[in-house]
């Protein structure tokens, strides 16, 4: 019964001078899960936005179940049974969960919205994805990111889609949530729904996909059945060049004794409990553990963004105040690459140049005035160092791809010559090529005697990049793994607060 459900031919889309899609084609079938792979800027997001009616293509045709179709706006796609879950959530923060789930076509009675029926629909939808801990009447703004993603998925499912598109829809979910979602997706597949799935996590692709399509530079590269190509081949197709090893080798230089960062008995509200550790210059320390165990809060506390933190922190031997980002870290050279690069790391409409120079602007001149030439020189240097791909430094930073945007954020902090660098899940939603560059950069910075604290939700990253991994559970430090003991089994075990099996042979890396 695998009738061809959706087809796209010759689709092109340009944004100003940028070619987002060039003569692209795509097909997906009912009853199969189709993964779309590619770096950021490869055109995946544009492709599915065209499918979802959010963007109008400059040329090309779309076909649904054999008949040509025009999708001028999201409502058209919704009517055609195409439902999408994007990276940028489509939830309305001030409305309740029930309002959001039934948003597109709320149940009506006498022309008005029927709240009771709506609530029933919401409860059903939430149960289907196993998120029964979410109260339908709670405003979405009160929910943490992982719960919001579950609501978003429940909302998509409640619309009874013929084609379901998921763009990085599970990025903040815990593994149990992901498992529940996958169960539902497989059930939908069994019922003949076509699923288009975008993710940078190869593991998820492995588990879910029936077919895969690779895009590069806005062009279709290949479509193949899953399991016919291995991960290395796929990555090479995405990047277009041979991939040697993803992670740079660790340095073998001995570390200094004098610590760069000393954290003593740090506590905050109920999220951080008596956390103490040390980082020496040149070390890359990872923060691991299950989602929401205090890792993000730890980084924010060290940067000074939290109120009511108790404990002491010393940077390079001198105690620092945690009363605000200005006082706390400026002298100590602390930098924070924040969680949400678009809302917290960048001023999107401002130029790349202005964004990169912003944190260090005081150093680029005297008496408060800015020396434009010094600024240009310094910015050019950083852009070159990080290989930030941008045609013109005066272009607004919002026009760059996710990976390049993250590089701008990093570049901004590099200009302040930091000695302690805190990173909050820096490679989330970023293509493989840029990820590698970031890993290499972190290693270079460590070799230049910076101390790095990296929070990541990707086990492979923790294993590949870090000299040491600290595991947090329920706000407390429950484990510290070093060297050969850093492997997935130990990390997971510690994350669940189980004992490590130290008798297992450690494989030399």
């Amino acid at each position: 019964m695998s009738a061809l459900l959706f087809r796209m031919e010759g689709v092109s889309k340009h944004f100003g001078g940028v070619r987002a899609l060039e003569n692209a084609h795509f097909e997906c079938e009912g009853g199969r899960i189709h993964a779309v792979l590619g770096e950021n800027g490869a055109g995946k997001s544009t492709l599915i936005k065209v499918m979802a009616g959010v963007l109008k293509p400059d040329s090309g045709s779309l076909e649904l179940a054999g008949t040509p179709i025009v999708l001028d706006r999201p409502a058209d796609a919704a009517r055609a049974g195409i439902v999408s879950v994007f990276q940028e959530l489509s939830l309305l923060p001030d409305l309740t969960v029930a309002d959001n789930i039934a948003l597109a076509s709320p149940p009506r009675r006498f022309g008005l919205i029927d709240s009771r029926q709506q609530r029933r629909i919401a409860e059903e939808a939430l149960e289907r994805v196993g998120a029964t801990d979410i109260h339908p009447l709670s405003p979405v703004r009160d929910l943490p990111l992982s719960r919001r993603q579950m609501v978003e998925i429940a909302k998509a499912l409640a619309r009874d889609p013929r084609i379901l598109i998921l763009d990085e829809a599970t990025s903040a979910l815990s593994s149990a949530d992901v498992a529940a979602v996958f169960r539902v997706l497989k059930k939908l597949r069994g019922r003949g729904v076509a699923i288009v799935y975008i993710s940078h996590r190869m593991r998820e692709i492995d588990e879910l996909a029936d077919d895969c399509t690779v895009y590069r530079n806005g062009r279709h590269v290949a479509t193949f059945a899953a399991a016919t190509k291995n991960a290395k081949e796929i990555v090479e197709m995405m990047i277009g060049r041979e991939v040697k090893s993803v992670f740079p080798p660790r340095s073998t230089r001995p570390l200094e004794e004098k610590p760069a960062l000393q954290v003593k008995h740090l506590s905050w509200a109920n999220h951080l409990k008596d956390v103490s550790f040390t980082i020496r210059p040149g070390e890359v320390v990872g923060l691991g553990g299950l989602d929401g165990q205090g890792q993000r809060e730890l980084l924010l506390a060290l940067f000074g963004a939290l109120i009511g933190v108790t404990g002491e922190v010393e940077a390079n031997g001198k105690p620092i105040s945690l009363k605000g980002p200005r006082k706390s870290g400026e002298q100590a050279g602390i930098a924070l690459i924040p969680e949400d690069r678009k809302a917290e790391g960048l001023m999107l409409p401002m130029s790349v140049r202005d964004n990169v120079s912003f944190a260090a602007i005081d150093r680029l001149g005297r008496f408060g005035l800015v020396d434009r030439r010094a600024e240009d020189r310094a910015v050019d240097e950083v852009v070159r160092l990080l290989s930030i791909k941008v045609p013109n430094l005066d272009a607004p930073v919002g026009a760059l791809s996710g990976g390049n945007q993250q590089k701008v954020v990093i570049g901004k902090w590099l200009m302040t010559q930091p000695r302690i660098i805190l990173l909050n899940d820096p490679t989330r939603g970023i293509d493989v090529g840029t990820k590698q560059e970031i890993y290499q950069l972190l290693r270079n910075l460590a070799d230049a005697r910076a101390a790095i604290l990296l929070y990541s939700t990707d086990y492979a990253e923790l294993i590949g990049c870090c000299d040491r991994v600290l595991i947090l559970y329920d706000g407390a430090l429950v484990g510290s793994l070093e060297g050969g003991a850093i492997n997935e089994r130990n990390i997971v075990a510690r994350a669940h607060n189980l004992a490590i099996d130290t008798s297992a042979p450690t494989v030399p890396r």
């Binding site: 959010v54 001030d94 709320p106 009447l137 149990a176």
Partner: protein, 344 residues
């Protein structure tokens, strides 16, 4: 590779026990409840201090004055829900007053036509505002400032000097009292709430308006009728301002193109909306809260008068009280533990 099924089920932090439903309903309308409480306290104090006490006359006068601002505040609420603003409500208020003083008199048939003309004027002004903001894509503050000028000019053309008249029967119906002491203006407000506001709130357009104020991008991506919803808010704003103009005509029994009055209602309507618990950022609150907010603002003035405060000090006191009441919302800052929550 780790199998998901090998992991224990509860991998997220244990969720808090579910709160009863009514706590959610209450929290959603918290601002309006507070405004109501403040008003009740103030009005009681006022009536106790007033020499005539809780008499019909006192209540009726207070109700009429409050209802005037309440209507304009309700008008302001609609665009504010979409995180917009209508700085022409005061001028529509004045314009419809002038129209009413010209047309609403004569035979019952002519009175009816006149009332329709007044309401129609409000709707037309609202439609112009809506068109300029939605399809002209201008920012509401500056667009409505400009249209406000247009409306005021029209009012001046109609009534270069104060004058005109209005049907006595209608005026009495609007501003008098029903047997039992309930002021007609309160009945009018209640009718508008039940027959216009509540249905709107539960309609698709109303829900879409909240959505636009909450997150315009998300509302668009969800396929909501963003343009229509926004347009409707400005049209409704014009309508409510027109009802206010009609009530004003009933009270003053004449029409006047008074720029200062229009300007002060403009700004007071925004203050009433804020005091009533609606967020200027959009997405939350409602017209009922704005009614209470308007009454709070009006009662302050009366209270000061009755407490025998030197009239010279009254404007200053009013300003301080206004700042204080919106400053109360800053108390939430004390509860914030993550500095990032302060910044939008």
């Amino acid at each position: 590779m780790i199998e998901p099924s090998a992991q224990p089920k509860a991998t997220t932090a244990p969720s808090p026990p579910r709160r009863p439903d009514w706590t959610y309903h209450f929290a959603a309308q918290r601002g309006a409840w507070i405004a109501l409480l403040i008003f009740a306290a103030m009005f009681t104090l006022f009536a106790c201090e007033h020499p005539a006490g809780f008499s019909h006359n006192v209540i009726n006068t207070a109700a009429n004055k409050g209802a005037l601002l309440a209507l304009v505040a309700m008008a302001q609420t609609f665009p504010v829900l979409t995180s917009g603003l209508d700085l022409s409500v005061g001028m529509v208020f004045v314009l419809t007053n002038c129209v009413a003083s010209t047309l609403v008199s004569g035979s019952p048939w002519r009175v009816a036509v006149g009332v329709s003309a007044v309401l129609g004027t409000g709707l037309a002004c609202g439609a112009l505002n809506g068109a300029v903001v939605v399809w002209g894509r201008l920012q509401p503050i500056i667009a409505t400032l400009a249209t406000g000028s247009l409306f005021y000019g029209a009012a001046l053309w109609l009534r270069p000097s104060p004058g005109g008249t209005v049907d006595d029967g209608l005026a009495e119906a609007l501003t008098g009292s029903l047997p039992g002491g309930i002021p007609c203006s309160i009945v009018l407000l209640a009718a508008l709430v039940f027959f216009v506001w509540l249905p709107y709130r539960h309609s698709v357009l109303g829900r879409a308006a909240y959505a636009v104020g909450s997150s315009r991008q998300a509302a668009f991506m969800s396929g909501l009728p963003v343009a229509r919803a926004q347009f409707a808010t400005y049209v409704l704003s014009g309508f409510f301002s027109a009802v206010g103009g009609l009530l004003l005509t009933g009270l003053t029994l004449s029409g006047e193109a008074n720029a200062m009055l229009g300007g002060s209602y403009n700004l007071s309507s925004v203050a009433a909306v804020v005091v009533g618990g609606t967020s200027l950022f959009g997405g939350s609150g409602g017209a009922v809260g704005s009614i209470f907010g308007a009454f709070v603002l009006r009662t302050i003035g009366d209270l000061l008068f009755v407490l025998d405060l030197d009239p010279l000090w009254q404007p200053l006191f009013l300003g301080v009280v206004l700042l204080f009441s919106v400053g109360l919302s800053s108390l939430r800052l004390l509860r914030i533990k993550n500095r990032l929550d302060i910044y939008r």
